[in-house]
């Protein structure tokens, strides 16, 4: 541990303030609770909201997993994990099922979560209505009145213009039939994992100073039309390393002739499958053109 700093960097008063905001967020699922976000040793936009939430809830017996883009070894995940290793001494893990707290940027693990686990999401822009209405005073009023017609108008325009709802990630959801919520920039592939999850989902936006939450077993519905139902991404390929056909795949360009291959974005999921003897499907050995 580095000298001169409190457990998990923040002082206890600040942690208590954040926990009060978290309790309010859990009590009103999907509602954005303003909180007095602090400057952190990492820059805004690099996960300060998630870091503050994790710092406020982490205890000595916790086991922490940090991922970015689904992987534990991406630079920002390494950096955040190291911050907590330096300021808490808690155990860290790369295995989803062993973790009690999983801080994430842009993904929810493929391995199903269980009761007692807490997901902490790093949120860049918490306000789902922001691109439709730039003013905070106005969007807060719209939430208060559950007046979300601008969002439906946007979806209508998408279908009229593109034939699809043109949102691939940070796909808007309605929580518990009441609040419109941004799930943070996870691919819409991960949206169904939010619905009635046994785990507690906490969302922290540091620069925008908002905290919100989805309590366990809460209904989370992705917006859609009856005749243009919400659908998740699908791949014709399987993972080139473990053969998985049910996971989110990253596309890797392997040469300058547009040769590509696909691998699991969730490195722990991929690793675990390989450890259990799974390998590439025989017909996907060749990378797709």
């Amino acid at each position: 541990m580095i000298e001169g700093y409190n457990f998990a960097y923040l002082d206890e008063q600040t942690k208590r303030m954040i926990r009060r905001a978290l309790l309010k967020a859990v009590a009103i699922p999907g509602y954005q609770v303003p909180f007095a976000s602090r400057e952190m040793p990492l820059p805004y936009g690099w996960g300060t909201g998630g870091i503050q939430v994790t710092a406020a809830i982490v205890g000595r017996s916790d086991v922490l997993k940090v991922i970015d883009q689904g992987a534990d070894d991406t630079t920002n995940a390494v950096s955040i994990r190291r911050l907590f290793a330096n300021t808490t001494d808690v155990a860290t893990t790369e295995r989803t099922q062993d973790a009690t707290i999983i801080q994430t940027r842009h993904r929810i693990p493929e391995t199903p979560l269980r009761e007692g686990q807490i997901m902490v999401f790093q949120v860049p822009i918490p306000e789902p209505l922001r691109w439709l209405e730039p003013r905070e005073a106005e969007t807060r009023r719209m939430h208060a009145h559950a007046d979300y017609s601008v969002m439906h108008v946007k979806l209508y325009e998408d279908v009229a213009r593109y034939g699809h709802i043109a949102t691939g990630y940070d796909y808007p959801v309605v929580v518990d039939g009441r609040y419109l919520m941004k799930p943070s920039p996870i691919p819409k592939f991960d949206n169904p994992k939010l619905d009635r999850s046994p785990a507690l989902m906490l969302f922290g936006a540091g620069r925008e100073k908002r905290i919100y939450a989805v309590p366990p077993y809460t209904a989370v519905r992705s917006l859609d039309f009856e005749d243009h139902p919400f659908r998740i991404e699908k791949w014709d390929e399987s993972c080139a390393l473990c053969g998985a056909t049910d996971s989110f795949l990253d596309e890797i360009v392997v040469d300058d002739r547009n040769k590509r291959m696909f691998v699991c974005s969730d490195s722990d999921y991929c690793q675990t499958r390989r450890a259990h003897g799974h390998g590439p499907a025989t017909d996907s050995q060749e990378a797709a053109e």
Partner: protein
Amino acid sequence: MYVAVKGGAKAIEASHALLDQARRGDPATPELALAQIASQLTLSVDRVMAEGSLYDRELAALAVKQARGDLVEAIFLLRAYRTTLPRLAESLPVDTDAMRPIRRISAAYKDLPGGQMLGPTFDYTHRLLDFALAAEGKRKTVEPVAAEPQADCPRALDILDREGLIEKVAESDASPPDLTRDPLQFPAERALRLQNLARGDEGFLLALGYSTQRGYSSTHPFAGEIRIGDVDVEIVPEELGFAVCIGEIRVTECEMINQFQGSRDLPAQFTRGYGLVFGEGERKAMAMALVDRSLRAGELGEERTSPAQDEEFVLSHADNVEASGFVQHLKLPHYVDFQSELNLIRRIRADQTREAAE
């Protein structure tokens, strides 16, 4: 077989080592001491203290050194450190009437009680690179003048006030809101706006203030008074019940005089714009005063048409620690989001191709 290009702990460590090396520069040159930075790069240190919201010359000098002279990075370092400090007490408002000035000018009056005092200023220097400075040791000395409180140095704006020609300052004993303890919420009262501006990025405020001079919500400003000097910081310890001075800080204060048409109910009078920053930061204090006045559009019944009058726009984007972080977060990987966009655009194009074929 494919090996993930995802970085790792080793790469980060190597990068940190390189950074440290780059910071140190050529080992043949002597290393900068904090005292050198604190006493010779004073205006860098002042800016870092002002926008870092922490008055500590030594820590600010350390931040400048560690940030390789990148002031926004240094401000960030200071803020992140400040986060970890307990708040022991809240000071009384500093009394700038009792300032011991090193500089005091008014552009509105040719002469006024207390006089004009230029002090150390770049104004009226010719901006000619001084090659003599490249060689060490050149120094001009002046007879030191004691910086004493000037009893007969009333504020320029008080002169107008006595004639009733300028709006009264709304005085209040209420505690001002505290941005470091409560999140910014809108609409924001003036005290909160001023706090935000005092921490705000000098370049951003400069550009906004400048825009008001170029027709984007003109406020017809006059630099009523600018003073730089030292003020006492006082606290009232609970166990004592009276104020004690715990030290002094240097601040720059700017009071702008702005025109106001008046209305049917209100006689024509001047209005105020206010700027106050830690250290010597005249450019920032002036820009702050211009923007403060512009942001009062609603209160003074002026139509809001320009960016500098738009409270949410100005206050939400003034903080350079927030802005720098979020702009630069675009460097972080976005593979997953990008993959989703790729899938979507391919699907839309495939549908279009199929429809065109039908």
